[in-house]
Amino acid sequence: MFWTTIKRIIKAGFISFWRNGSVSLSAVFVMIVALFMIASTLLITAFLGTALKDLQDKIDINIYVDEKATEPAILSLKEKIEILPEVKSVSYISREQALENFRIRHENDHRIIQALDEIGDNPLPATLTIKAKEPSQYEGISNFLSNKSELSAGSTLSIVSKVNYNDNKVAIDRLSKIIIGVKKLGGIITAMMIGISILITFNTIRLAIFIARDEIGVMRLVGGSNEYVRGPFVVEGILYGLVAAFLTLILFYPVTYWLKNTTQVFYGGVDLLHYFVANFVQIFVIIILSGIALGAVSSYLAVRKYLTSK
């Protein structure tokens, strides 16, 4: 009996979805807009997260080592810095390596290369590049480095010619603030967008069910239990959600493709389309589940209004 009822409810939902074509169509369209909003905010937030992480990775502290320093002395300094709990990594770039990197970076700029050749000697110092675990920890690391007593163990102090943290401090501070701000704002915007989408969908479905309120009355008069009356509407809501979710996902491909060029200009390298394709399974699951949940819950609540009396 239970399965027969379920089967009948599902069948009635499908038939109703099909026969109320125009109502279903408009509900699906509104849900596409809602799901599109949800998907794009989620995608953009996630995408911004990646972009910010890339930016964060670009923050570092460089210690320029004195020319006279020997490699073992530099490596011992490196080890000392690496033990700090805030430090994620320290990479050592030797003078030769620095020169090679410089040449590669400026290979198209003949004047610079020419100038370099004229100098003859390698003018570039060896560097230790320090990356912290969190952007906020650079200050502490910098303090440690400028604390001479910490560094003066042995003769290592003398090999440091310059630490560039103070030069970068303003930029680092600002970037840290932006990152925190964008993350917060992203959260608020996502929450708002999702809230608005839910409201729009709920109202549309409420209208669709308002149109059918007389039918609900008839179904009850004929002896339909609340579950039996409500069931097909919930199935219909789920169908709106499913169809809308599939259409949204299909729409997303050309949209991200179109946006690809624009976003590439911004972030040189990160590409929304690639992000969409790479995370497709996750996005697919989120959109489909949101569609189903939105449709089902909205229908359930909208019908409830007509089922409260005896």
Binding site: I15, R19, N20, V218, L221, V222, G223, N226, Y228, K310
Partner: protein, 226 residues
């Protein structure tokens, strides 16, 4: 079978729809309730269907006080009562067949039973040819016959026909009344509200006359006396 015990119904705006109505209807009776608009006929039907509760007094169906039936048990009662309305109240997006089948589905009947009973009932009301038509493709008389088919398909104990011929021409009215009579002959109790004099007189059955929420006449083989 049905007992109205000193039932009054008044609304918040002060309208008194029923005023001290006491009435009993036995199994197998055919009762016509007549009266002007606003006499309380439809309120009587609503109380019987549990759509509304009396302000004072009680309405019982098979000795059960309808007011005391819980919301979740209401569908059970309604499946025992077949209802026919002036405005048909069919489901617009279901075919004639599906409208009738719906009543059986909610009652939890098996698919095989539905497949055999629905065509049979539609044949009784002479709608076999229009079984797969939607309500919008049917005439008033045909719509009412679908509604009747839906009302009787579960073999209810009681049929309530609330102004079933109000929207129909004389020929269709005659046909509908004949069908109701046939249903009653098979043992089902029928309550018919109407203000069609011809219908009541042709039937020659019990007539209850109402006016301003009161029963003013109750004749066992009555005539339309308004």
């Amino acid at each position: 079978m049905i007992y109205f015990d000193n039932v009054s119904k008044s609304y918040q705006d002060g309208t008194v729809a029923l005023n001290g109505v006491t009435l009993s209807i036995k199994q197998g009776e055919f009762v016509s309730i007549v009266g002007h608009s606003g006499a309380g006929k439809t309120t009587l039907v609503k109380l019987l269907l549990g759509e509304d509760n009396p302000t004072t007094g009680s309405v019982s169906f098979d000795s059960v006080n309808i007011k005391k039936i819980k919301a979740k048990d209401m569908p059970e009662l309604r499946r025992r009562i077949g209802v026919i309305f002036q405005d048909f109240r069919l489901l617009p997006n279901k075919t004639a067949y599906e409208n009738v089948a719906f009543a059986m589905e909610v009652a939890g009947k098996a698919d095989e039973e539905i497949a055999s009973d629905v065509p049979h009932v539609l044949e009784l009301v002479d709608l076999t040819k229009k079984m797969w038509n939607f309500p919008r493709q049917l005439s008033g008389g045909e719509l009412q016959r679908v509604a009747i088919a839906r009302a009787i398909v579960n073999q209810p104990d009681l049929i309530i026909a609330d102004e079933p011929t109000g929207n129909l021409d004389p020929i269709n009215t005659y046909e509908i009344v004949q069908i109701l009579k046939k249903i009653n002959d098979m043992g089902t109790t029928v309550i018919l509200t109407t203000h069609n004099k011809g219908v009541v007189e042709a039937l020659g059955k019990r007539v209850i006359t109402m006016d301003h929420g009161r029963i003013i006449r109750d004749d066992s083989t009555g005539k339309y006396a308004l």
